[in-house]
């Protein structure tokens, strides 16, 4: 019985961490599937938004929901500005230029955060309703982690429904599938991308804020988790919400378990697994096979 409780505890912890990864990465997957732009700086938006959420709560004492909304809006707005003035110039550029540009952005974000806020880690002060433990019957588990898992699932479901049922979702799916065809059908791809980019960055902000305790929140965030975001997106399959969700949860659980039982170098298996999966299916688990 103890084993079951331990197992459930670890599983829930991993799922919570994975959920955070999902919320942060879903935007990256969609924008990359849409535009093919290698945006390594996506984690920087998560960090920026996360900081806004946390600081709004800790220093300005806003409510939880308000802080999240603030983080979403501020990050979305920033991303729109950056997209219109900078990112846009590099859509036709080679991959190397995109990599350089986004690495440069990462450095700018990290340095700016360090200068404005300081190098220390930020912690999220949970609202009392989400603190404490929840009795699930066979196990008592942290309310916040359960909350995260539920919220993550709701977000995944919501985004998936948007993709499948709404007009704009259909447009996004069509453009991911075949951009030229979508353009010739009259879809305004540029505007679509700005909207998606803004939404994705806003989502990342929420992920950054909600996940402050799992992934931490310090200026090094974008570099620390760069590889993980890329793994989640590539293994899941660019542009696939389901893919990102599964990949993120699997990665979250794996990382949680490995760090717990093999703290020194255990995460090596994550990299081995990634390489094996991508060798077998270069387009990711749910990605579109390129003709």
């Amino acid at each position: 019985m103890n084993f079951a409780a331990d197992f459930a505890g670890i599983l829930l912890g991993g799922l919570a961490a994975g959920t955070v990864l999902f919320i942060v990465s879903v935007g990256l997957s969609v924008t990359m599937g849409l535009m093919g732009f290698v945006n390594l700086a996506h984690g920087a938006f998560a960090m920026f938004g996360g900081y806004i959420v946390v600081l709004a709560m800790n220093r300005a004492h806003f409510g939880f929901a308000v802080a999240l909304a603030l983080g979403f809006i501020a990050t979305a707005a920033l991303s729109v500005v950056l997209e219109r003035f900078l990112y846009r110039r590099l859509y036709r550029a080679g991959e190397l230029d995109q990599v350089l540009f986004t690495i440069g952005l990462i450095f700018i974000f990290i340095a700016s955060m360090t200068i404005v806020v300081g190098p220390e880690s930020q912690t999220l002060q949970l609202p009392p309703a989400l603190g404490g433990q929840l009795n699930l019957g066979f196990i008592q588990y942290r309310t916040y982690s359960i909350f995260l898992i539920v919220v993550g699932f709701a977000i995944a479901l919501g985004i998936w429904l948007t993709f499948e049922r709404t007009r704009i979702g259909g447009q996004i799916r069509a453009t991911v599938d075949n951009r030229r065809m979508a353009e010739s059908l009259g879809i305004n791809v540029d505007r679509l991308f700005t909207i998606t980019f803004a939404f994705g960055s806003g989502m990342a902000a929420i992920g950054g804020g909600l996940g402050a305790e799992f992934l931490g929140l310090d200026p090094q965030y974008p570099l620390k988790y760069l590889v993980y975001f890329l793994i989640v997106v590539s293994v899941g399959g660019l542009g696939s919400v389901i893919g990102v969700y599964y990949a993120a949860l699997i990665l979250g659980v794996l990382d949680f378990v490995l760090t717990l039982y093999l703290p020194k170098g255990g995460t090596i298996f994550i990299y081995v697994l990634t390489i094996l999966i991508l060798l077998a299916r270069p387009q990711g688990l749910f990605g579109r096979k390129e003709l």
């Binding site: 990359m32 093919g36 290698v38 900078l86 110039r89 590099l90 550029a93 080679g94 991959e95 190397l96 230029d97 995109q98 990599v99 350089l100 540009f101 690495i103 440069g104 952005l105 990462i106 450095f107 700018i108 974000f109 990290i110 340095a111 700016s112 360090t114 200068i115 570099l223 760069l226 590889v227 890329l230 793994i231 590539s234 660019l238 093999l262 020194k264 170098g265 255990g266 995460t267 090596i268 990299y271 081995v272 990634t274 390489i275 991508l278 060798l279 270069p282």
Partner: protein
């Protein structure tokens, strides 16, 4: 060849060699006078800046590392953020051989480091070079992270996070000792290794093999269509690039007399990419210029204002990506061409 050769066959052959285009190709590999400058500067610096030999050694190692990346990135077009995998492989080969007193002779240690790194290069190349774009980039990161975690896991042998300190290195040629306090032997040794490696890379770049790498970078579809064994060429190039990075890593371990996980980190891989881009990739000397400019700036700025240095570096990268993708050498070429155009204008 063709049945339609003009009657004056001899004349056309002579015309072929006289044609300026042909001459350009035939003389491209000749040494130019200014190519001696970096080496003269290096030797002069040895005597002129005796207090900076440690920095100088670091610079030479960085140049070699960036040169190795240039072969993969600048000539074959393989975009990688994981080149430190090979640097670290070489560093740990030298480090572990020395630390456990298995082998401390410096020159042969470097050869072993090259072999180890090349082996990893071939293995990973066989697997990775099937992919391209984001997938390739990410797999290079994964390979590097994998090695980093492996070194962490085997901390009993590798010293884990703290690494292996105080590596014993035998004297070069049995005579010249590595002095931990004064870096004169280290500097000259690094310079010698760099010279040999550079001449090798230069030969490779101007060889028919190098030319085919350029073809692969410029238009890989065309290379397939002329019968070129593209994959084989890429793997060989990647393996050679890995070997050179391994030598750089081994050199780093020898001249610093220690090795740790930083040799396998994203930080190191990102830095060498920045160095190469800054100088100008695909241009052989970009590694030299990029390393000098980057390390000089870092040495003076990062120590005083580390956060401002990072901010400035970020801005520089954004500007380079937008306006000067061919780095300093690229800018120089553009300016030179404009200058020439102005001079020949009426």
């Amino acid at each position: 060849m063709s049945a339609a050769v003009s009657p004056a066959g001899e004349a056309s052959v002579a015309a072929g060699i006289d044609n300026p285009a042909a001459r350009v190709l035939m003389q491209r590999h000749r040494f130019r006078w200014w190519e001696a400058l970096p080496w003269i500067a290096a030797i002069v610096s040895y005597f002129a800046f005796p207090d900076y030999l440690g920095f100088g050694t670091d610079l030479l190692v960085t140049i070699l590392f960036a040169l190795s990346l240039d072969l993969a990135l600048g000539y074959a077009g393989i975009i990688t953020l994981g080149h430190a995998a090979f640097f670290g492989a070489g560093a740990y080969t030298v480090g572990m051989l020395a630390s456990y007193n298995i082998w401390t002779e410096p020159i042969t240690s470097l050869l072993l480091a090259a072999l180890a790194a090349a082996a990893i290069g071939v293995l990973s190349g066989l697997v990775l070079l099937r992919t391209k774009g984001l997938t390739l980039l990410m797999l290079t990161l994964c390979t590097m992270a994998l090695l980093e975690q492996a070194a962490n896991m085997a901390h009993a042998y590798t010293g884990g996070f703290d690494g292996l300190p105080s590596l014993p290195i035998a004297p070069v040629f049995g005579v010249f000792e590595f002095n931990p306090l004064y870096a004169d032997t280290q500097y000259l040794f690094a310079l010698g290794v760099l010279l040999v490696c550079f001449l090798f890379v230069r030969t490779l770049v101007y060889s028919p093999f190098g030319q085919s790498l350029t073809g692969i970078r410029e238009n890989v579809l065309r290379m397939h269509a002329i019968g070129s064994p593209v994959r084989r060429r890429l793997i060989v190039c990647y393996a050679i690039s890995a070997a050179l990075a391994g030598i750089a890593g081994g050199l780093w371990a020898q001249t610093n007399a220690y090795v740790n996980l930083s040799t396998l980190g994203l930080d190191r891989a990102a830095t060498v990419l920045i160095v190469l881009i800054l100088g100008g990739y695909g241009r052989l000397y970009g590694a030299f210029i990029g390393a000098v400019v980057y390390l000089a700036l870092e040495h003076f700025l990062a120590q005083i204002y580390p956060t401002a240095w990072q901010l400035g570096l970020g801005l520089l990268l954004v500007l380079i990506a937008l306006f000067a993708r061919n780095g300093i050498l690229g800018l120089g070429e553009t300016l030179w061409r404009r200058y020439r155009a102005k001079r020949t204008a009426p």
